[in-house]
């Protein structure tokens, strides 16, 4: 009985959800493309006040101001780059979730791409080495020497 009660409490919990009231603004857009740009821009800018939240997701007053500004600049016909510059000028590179490619971020973008090439190289080299390994079988003498080596390794 107690178990059933526990389970029903847990089940009830499953269907409730709560969050602190957020900035839900009703905005009119001329066309869906602008609306999409608005969404992408506000999703890729970080709230300067709150911990790690995009401005579209944050209810800090400053995020509301920034959303408003993005909206106004879009209505004003500015390009995404202009809008981003406008914000960075005031709040710094910190607010960009998509860091710009510059001296200090070359490694950030370059390393993963470089690793893909390194990875391809490793696969090619390894498989080529192993293919040869499978091609020539070891002679009995070689096998004995190898076993001796491995054993020495283990006991060391």
């Amino acid at each position: 009985m107690a178990l059933i009660r526990t389970l029903s409490v847990l089940l009830m919990l499953l269907f409730t959800a709560s969050a602190i009231a957020g900035g839900i603004e009703v905005r009119e857009f001329d066309d869906p493309v602008t609306e999409k740009r608005y969404r992408d821009l506000t999703a890729s800018m970080r709230c300067p006040l709150c911990e790690n939240q995009a401005i579209d997701d944050s209810d800090a007053p400053i995020s509301g101001d920034m959303r408003e500004r993005v909206y106004l600049l879009l209505q004003d016909g500015q390009s995404d780059i202009e809008i981003i510059d406008h914000m960075v000028q005031r709040f710094g590179d910190y607010i960009l979730y998509n860091p710009r490619l510059e001296n200090r971020t070359y490694l950030l973008w370059g390393l993963p791409i470089g690793l893909i090439f390194v990875g391809m190289l490793v696969v090619v080299l390894m498989v080529r080495a192993r293919r040869n390994a499978s091609a020539k079988a070891l002679s009995a003498e070689e096998r004995a020497r190898l076993d001796a080596l491995i054993n020495r390794e283990r006991s060391s």
């Binding site: 009231a21 957020g22 839900i24 998509n98 690793l115 491995i150």
Partner: protein, 668 residues
Amino acid sequence: MFIKMIPEIGHFALVIALLMAIVQAIMPLAGAATRRPLWMAYGRPMAAGQFFFVAIAYICLTTSYMLDDFSVANVANNSNSLLPWYYKFSAVWGNHEGSVLLWSLMLAGWGYAASVFSGDLPRDMVARVQGIMGMVCVGFLLFILMTSNPFERLLPNMPQDGADLNPLLQDFGLIVHPPMLYMGYVGFSVVFAFAIAALLGGRLDAAWTRWARPWTNLAWAFLTVGIALGSWWAYYELGWGGWWFWDPVENASLLPWLTGTALMHSLAVTEKRGSFKSWSVLLAISTFSLSLLGTFLVRSGVLTSVHAFANDPSRGFFILMLLTITVTLSLLVFALRAPRVSHKVGFNWLSRDSLLLINNILLVIMTVTVLLGTVYPLILDSMGLGKISVGPPYFNALFVPLTVIMCVFMGLGPVARWKSMPAGELVRKLWLAGAASLVLGAAMPLLYGGEWNLWVSLGIISALWIVLPIVRDLFDKTRHASSFLAGLRKLSLAYWGIVLGHVGIAVTIVGVAIVSNYNIERNVRMSPGTTVEVAGYQFTMTELTNRRGPNFLADTSIIHVQRGETGRSFIMRPEKRLYLATGMPMTQVALRPGLFRDLYVAMGEDLEDGSYAMRVQYKPFVRWLWLGGLLMSFGGILAVVDKRYRRVTARKSAPADAAQASSKEATV
């Protein structure tokens, strides 16, 4: 009297556990090094005793919560006499100190389990495993006792009542998510201990792989569920319908998951083919190290994250020391003891070996990418190069293509044979699956959304390309059985583990691709009588009411939802609540979950003309994200319970059985 002493008993139990852990860390290792069975025999009772005493400490803390003992600082800061019992119970791990205690409890539990279920391993191997586990336990118990004591008292000025658990944590998610996640993190410590023990003993043979595999799968299954639960919790509680934010805390859980996944696959190669031995060991070390690194990143305050624990540099310093000692020592052992000569096991361009090699390399690249993006702001900052942020756009831009590449090889993997797979045979087996995936995947966005979408197509093609070859393989494998079903029953559980794991990934990919691209979100102004149509659903606000809850006031909108003109209708009730105690306004989201779509209504600002700003969302296939996670972890568990792991003891005494089992392995 006794009840009043509970926190002190808990504290004392932790000290005893620490002493036992120290003995466990020293004696078995010394015994194994000097070949003294008596010293080695210390391991198991110490592991048991340590588990017992950490459990007592844990029970004491939970009791303090249950009894509302606000003289305990931890309880006073994180609980309240009005909190329901199940939240008091889980509030224990809703804070830094308690969660580290839970972590230690699990660590001791895994350590004990490892010593119980290691019956027929060589004695010195068991002793070394216990010794390593003991060392890790010493680290964490010291961490608790020196920097994060949950039993600290607020005497003589104890508060009348507790400060309450953060309302966002008063949720089912808190009850299930952290324990699962920690089970995963901590579980990898056992694998780590096996790896180091094998290095120390110079015994990197098939036996250690055979023993490490089930532990890896089990830890991985827990971690998978933990991550899926975390994402689900964020979705309905925190994120306005978002389910993954690439937040440092999320990345911290993803990193060991990625290397853990690589480890599972590499161990498969090591066990079946005897290659990748050192590599598996390195992955085992990396996985546990990344769990520790995640702990450091989350609890030291070096990164801003949405899930901030109360940060304290002294804690950060301690974990950093723990991390540095663990990683440096184990890498040192690795460098000195990794086999110098490994006889190269040959395989061809097309073989399961080479595909698993590619899998591992891709997973490592993914790991490095996520790690780099997570710590890059920190590194730039400590070099004085300014503050930048690395967020979702960066991770998506790199992770999504890497996943697609991975899927190309994932389709081939389970079908390919070890050592060598003739290209002709592979093409003959898979051309149909490949063509079907391409056609269906390319057509899917047209049928579903009316216009073509590259990312949806790639997602569906990837998912089908993972699933269809497995389906084909199932038919091939059951060809000789009397019926398809009879054939399915004959397949080993480990094989079903592979199937479920891969199908789970495919299901998650479908969810990600569809919900990311076909999610519809509308912010609208609504007042009673307003109707809004979103994705074929009519949302009509019929009424705006007020109600008084137990500890809050709420504005409730009653939304009548109807599918199409004549479809099923139901009511959704989003609320705006004002919590009286804290004065905190909260939005109570209304969710209507479904296998193929979720409806999500949130109530925003009062627009002061009798209407409210409302956010209405239609999220197709979002449940598939977590469904896939559950399938994956179920697959992991099936692989653990496969009988060839359970019956290792029997195998020793019955060579016939062993021969049978290994011939079956060859087919898997």
